[in-house]
Amino acid sequence: MKPVIQIEELRKQYVIGDQEIYALRGVSLSIEVGDFVAIMGPSGSGKSSMMNVIGCLDKPTSGEFFLDGYPVSQAHDDELAVIRNQKIGFVFQNFNLLPRTTAVENVELPLLYGGTPARERREKAIRALTSVGLAERLNNKPNELSGGQQQRVSIARALVNDPVILLADEPTGALDTKTSEEIMGIFQKLNDAGKTVILVTHEPDIAEYAKRIVRFRDGQIIADEVVEDRRRVSMEGRADELS
C-alpha cells in the first residue's frame, strides 16, 4: 500500500530570543492509508511540532514531507491553505468552533473556503452532522452544546470535505472519561470505514484505542510499536449514527 504520509529526515528549529530550539531532529515516519496512529510523548518532546508539520500549519526547516504523494515541504502559504482544506481534517482539544455560529454553519466552513455551492454545502454539512449523531442539533450554537457535542461538531467539520487524513490534537483533553470514550468510538468507527486517523495525545489510555503508537522524546522517535491489546469501544446500539 502506498503511504499517505511519507516523512524523511524532518528537522524543525525555532529561534526564541537568542536561543535556538531543535524541536524535531531528523524524524522519518511513514503512515499507510487506513492506519490509526497515536503520537505520544511528554510536552517538549516535539509531538506538537510534528502535528503542526503534518497538519501543514507549519513548514519544516529541512527534510521531505509527502502528503498523499504531494511534496508539501516546498509548498507556498496559499498552497498549504488549499492542502489543509482538501486533504486534512482537524480536530482540536478545545474544539475551535466559531462562536455565535450554528453547528451546521461551522461544519459548512471548510466547504465555503473550498468553493462548494451553497445548496450542496448545506446538504453535505447536514449529512456529516447526522453521521456523528447530531442531526437534532443543526442550529445550535457552540455555547448551547455540551463538550462532547461540540467535539462531535468539530469531527463533522473535519470530515465534511472527505480528507485523506483526520488529524486529532488531544481530542479528549477537555472531556470527561465517558465522553472521551464516545469520541474515541467515533474515531474507531471512521477508521474502520477506511479513514486514516492520526491522534496526538499524552494519555496512554487514549492512545490504546489506536492501532499503532509512535513515541517522541527530545525531537526524535524513540519507539514505533503496534498496539497489542487494542481497546475497542462497543458500538452496539449506535451503529445507526455512523455511516
Binding site: 503542526n52 497538519g55 500549519l57 507549519d58 502559504d77 496559499d78 491553505a81 488549499v82 489543509r84 482544506n85 482538501q86 482537524f90 482540536f92 475551535n96 468552533l97 466559531l98 462562536p99 455565535r100 455560529t101 466552513l109 471548510p110 465555503l112 473556503y113 473550498g114 468553493g115 467539520r157 470535505n161
Partner: protein, 403 residues
C-alpha cells in the same frame, strides 16, 4: 469564498458586536451628516444671496465716485465726491438707459404726533421703483414733477410704518423729518433684509428736496442706472463712461474718477464668497470624516486582535490570505458604508430642519450625497486595509495558540 458570503459574514460580526459597531459608525455618521448639512446650507445660502442680488434691480449698473489718490496712495472708494445731479441728467439722455436713480443717503429722525423713529433717509428720483425693482404697496411713488419742484413728499418702508404709525394708515399723514414737514404719499412693498441692511427700514424722498433741505451738498452718493435690456448692459456701461468723462472734462489720458459696477459683478463676488464659505464648512466636516475613519481602523484593529483565534480556525480549515483580507476589508467597508447611509439620512434631515425652523435656506443636491457615499466607502477601504492585512498575515499556528 464568494463576495456575498463575505458580506454575510461581515454583517454577522457587525451585529454580534452591536454597541461597538454603532459607536464606530458614529464617527462616520457625524462626519457624513456634517458634510451633507454644511453643503446644503452653503448652497442654499448662495442661492438665496443670488436671488437677493437679482432682486436689487433689473439690468442694474451702479455708478459710484472714484478713489482719490494722494502720492500714489489710494484713499479708498468714495473718497471723491465727483458725481452730481448733472451727471444723472446726462445719463437720462442715453438710449441704452431706461432709468436713472441718483441717490443720497443720510439718517433722519421722523416724528408723527408724539411718536418718533430714526431711519435711513434716501433721496432719489422718480425712476427709483423701476431701477431698484421695488414696488409701491399702498399709495403712490413721487413723480418727476414733484422731484423737479422739490416737494416735501415721502414714501416709507413697512418697518417705518409699523414703528411710527402703529397700525394707523400712514398715507396722507404729515410727519416731520428733521423738523421739516413731509406728506407721506406711499408705502413700499416689503422686501425683507439682504445681509445686514433691512430694506423695509427706509424713507424715500425726492433727491432735490434731500440735497437742498437735508444734506445740503451738491454731490450725489451714487447713481443707479437701469439698462434698457440685458443685451444693452455693455453699451450702457460704455455710454455711462463716455458721458461722465465728458461731463467731468477728463483729459483722454486721465483715469476715470468714477466706478461702474454691474449686477453680475456683485453676483459673482457674492458667489465666490459663499462658495469659499461652503468649501470651508465642508473642509471642516471632511476632517471629522477622517477622524471617523481612524475610529473604524481602531475598532478593526481591536477586532483583529480579539478574533485572532477565529482567524486561526479559518486558516486551519483552508482560508487563504486573500479570504481573510477580503473578510476584514469588507467588514470595514460595510461598517463605514452603513455609517455613511445613516449619515446621509441624518444630514438631509438636519438640512430640512434648518430650513424649516430658521431663516437659512438649504438646498440638497445629489452630488454631495454621492460624494459622501463614495468617501465613506473610501474611508472604509483606506482605514480597513491595514487591519485586514494584519489579520491575513497571521500565521495559523500562532493564531490558533492565541488565548
Amino acid at each position: 469564498m464568494s463576495f456575498l458570503e463575505c458580506v454575510r459574514i461581515s454583517f454577522r460580526s457587525i451585529r454580534a458586536n452591536g454597541l461597538r459597531s454603532v459607536l464606530t459608525m458614529l464617527g462616520i455618521i457625524i462626519g457624513v451628516a456634517a458634510v451633507i448639512a454644511m453643503v446644503a446650507i452653503g448652497e442654499g445660502t448662495s442661492t438665496s444671496v443670488a436671488s437677493q442680488i437679482n432682486g436689487l434691480g433689473s439690468n442694474l449698473l451702479i455708478v459710484t465716485p472714484g478713489q482719490a489718490t494722494q502720492g500714489r496712495v489710494s484713499l479708498g472708494a468714495g473718497s471723491l465726491n465727483t458725481l452730481t445731479m448733472a451727471d444723472a441728467e446726462a445719463l437720462m439722455q442715453k438710449e441704452s438707459i431706461s432709468g436713472v436713480a441718483p441717490s443720497v443717503n443720510t439718517r433722519g429722525q421722523i416724528v408723527w404726533g408724539s411718536n418718533n423713529y430714526s431711519s435711513m433717509l434716501e433721496g432719489t428720483s422718480a425712476d427709483f421703483p423701476q431701477v431698484r425693482n421695488v414696488e409701491v404697496g399702498q399709495g403712490r411713488f413721487f413723480s418727476n414733477f414733484e422731484v423737479k419742484m422739490q416737494y416735501n413728499v415721502a414714501v416709507v418702508g413697512t418697518e417705518v410704518v409699523s414703528n411710527l404709525f402703529k397700525g394707523a394708515n400712514p398715507v396722507g399723514q404729515t410727519v416731520q423729518i428733521n423738523r421739516i414737514p413731509f406728506t407721506i404719499i406711499g408705502v413700499l412693498q416689503s422686501q425683507g433684509s439682504s445681509g445686514m441692511t433691512n430694506n423695509d427700514d427706509r424713507i424715500i424722498i425726492p433727491i432735490t428736496t434731500a440735497m437742498n433741505r437735508l444734506t445740503g451738498g451738491k454731490n450725489v452718493g451714487s447713481i443707479y442706472v437701469s439698462a434698457a435690456s440685458p443685451d444693452l448692459m455693455e453699451k450702457a456701461q460704455q455710454d455711462i463712461q463716455q458721458a461722465l468723462r465728458a461731463n467731468h472734462k477728463l483729459r483722454p489720458q486721465a483715469a476715470d474718477d468714477f466706478r461702474i459696477t454691474s449686477q453680475s459683478d456683485i453676483l459673482s463676488t457674492a458667489q465666490s464668497v459663499s462658495s469659499s464659505m461652503t468649501a470651508l464648512l465642508s473642509g471642516i466636516a471632511a476632517i471629522s470624516l477622517i477622524v471617523g475613519g481612524i475610529g473604524v481602523m481602531n475598532i478593526m484593529l481591536v477586532s483583529v486582535t480579539e478574533r485572532t483565534r477565529e482567524i486561526g480556525i479559518r486558516k486551519a480549515i483552508g482560508a487563504k490570505r486573500g479570504d481573510i483580507l477580503r473578510q476584514f476589508l469588507i467588514e470595514a467597508v460595510t461598517l463605514s458604508l452603513i455609517g455613511g447611509v445613516i449619515g446621509i439620512a441624518l444630514g438631509v434631515g438636519a438640512a430640512f430642519l434648518v430650513s424649516k425652523f430658521s431663516q437659512m435656506a438649504t438646498s440638497i443636491s445629489l452630488s454631495p450625497i454621492m460624494y459622501a457615499f463614495l468617501t465613506s466607502t473610501l474611508v472604509g477601504v483606506i482605514f480597513g486595509v491595514y487591519p485586514a492585512r494584519k489579520a491575513a498575515q497571521l500565521k495559523p499556528i500562532d493564531a490558533l495558540r492565541y488565548e
